[in-house]
Symmetry: C7
Subunit: 94 residues, 7 copies
């Protein structure tokens, strides 16, 4: 089974937060309000969304920063995904 997002929606999969920094310091895991890194799994077709033309600018495989509280969590075949609107993606990490 796979998720095919509609409109300007994007399916992402959260990356494990690195809990040890380069310099070897262990970071606390409780920082609840931080944005998250995720990998793009599937991208909607874009087009007219709520009366506005949306062009999709991310693609599957991109690593992205997103607004944590904007998405909807979905569980499918024991995998957890998050479905966000493209406008909730803040930046691509290269």
């Amino acid at each position: 089974m796979k998720l095919v997002p509609l409109g300007d929606r994007v399916v992402i999969k959260q990356l494990e937060a690195e809990q040890v920094t380069k310099s070897g310091i262990v970071l606390p895991t409780g920082a609840k309000e931080k944005p998250q890194q995720a990998e793009v799994v599937a991208v909607g077709p874009g087009g007219m969304v709520d009366g506005k033309e949306v062009k999709m600018e991310v693609k599957a495989g991109d690593k992205v920063i997103y607004s944590k509280y904007a998405g909807t969590e979905v569980k499918l075949d024991d995998n957890e995904y998050i479905i966000v609107k493209q406008s909730d993606i803040l930046a691509i990490v290269e």
Copy 2:
């Protein structure tokens, strides 16, 4: 009797949540805020809705993920349906 949705509305019927995963683990049923899987029963004609052109992208029989709190529950002939706007449907499950 059948429901004929207006505008960009979609009639869906909730699928029973699978309570046993592939690996045989029984999942709790109380997770109230999770999005839901549903099957599309009927689809409105789309067109101009609130001043915006809406093209319907789901069809009867599609399995979809929707935002649980967005719909309106309707009971008809002992069947329970949910009427949502197409924009409350996040993704199609294939």
Copy 3:
């Protein structure tokens, strides 16, 4: 006396909820937040409403499902009506 709705408004009259299901079970009447079935009594002319073109898609005599909290109750000659906007009508029951 009769009500002539303006713009995209629709005058409806609530149908008595069937309190006995096909299988003979008596349903409780207290379910306050459920959408309601109603019959359309009069339909506004549509046209430009709040800067948007609205085409009326229901007609007098239609049985409809509407969002219960959206309308305004009106009493006229001992009859009770509800005036809703067409966008508060979710589906036609055929």
Copy 4:
């Protein structure tokens, strides 16, 4: 002195609620949230209002149903009027 409403505004004068129904039952007067019947006293010119073209559809003398909480009460020469936007008028009573 008279009130000349601007834009899409309408000056109305509340009709006394009939407190005795046809069948002779005295109705309570305390039902605060009910919509009200009123007579149209003066009608603004319509035209561009908040960036949208508004065509006036009521005229002086019309009996109308309006949303009670939408208007502004005005007292002029011992008369009490209510100034509403035309969109707060739900229906004409004929």
Copy 5:
């Protein structure tokens, strides 16, 4: 010194509420939520305001009814003015 309002703003000066009615009854002054009568002192140029074309329809000297809570009080040379948007003016009193 004088106030030159920008955009669709209008400078008005509140008229003393008449505290004695025609029939000689003294009215209480505490009715806080009533709309107010005022005289127009200066009128902005109108034109494009917040992306919408606004045509000014009041002029200096007009007596108007306005929504009391919408304006901003300004004191200049011991005079008190109120600056409102034209859309907060409900009607002209002629």
Copy 6:
């Protein structure tokens, strides 16, 4: 160092409130919700702002009345400025 405002923003500098009126009465300083007089220090270029064309109508040196709670205070080289949108400026004082 100087502040160069973007879009429809205007940098203003609050004028000391005159605490003695013409007639010699000392005014209290605690009136917190009053609009303020300020002098315009720098003006953004205007143009398309949030999808709307904005034409700047104030210029450096103008004395203006503004909505006190709308701006953002900025400290630069021991000077305190306020950055507001032009639409928060109510009138020019001439």
Copy 7:
């Protein structure tokens, strides 16, 4: 790794607040609601954002004043960045 902002977003890096003024006075650090100075690190492409054409007016290296509560904090390789929309940038400091 680097951050490539989408749409009208801008990646900025907060400048250390100068805690000693020219005149040698030590400023308190607790002033939580003040806007902040930051340096622009990366700028999105602009273009159609939420149905509106946005032209980017800041560039990497600019020192800017921004609305403190508007951005999202991001940590990457031990550096802390803030991602804001260009409209949250109030002025450039030259």
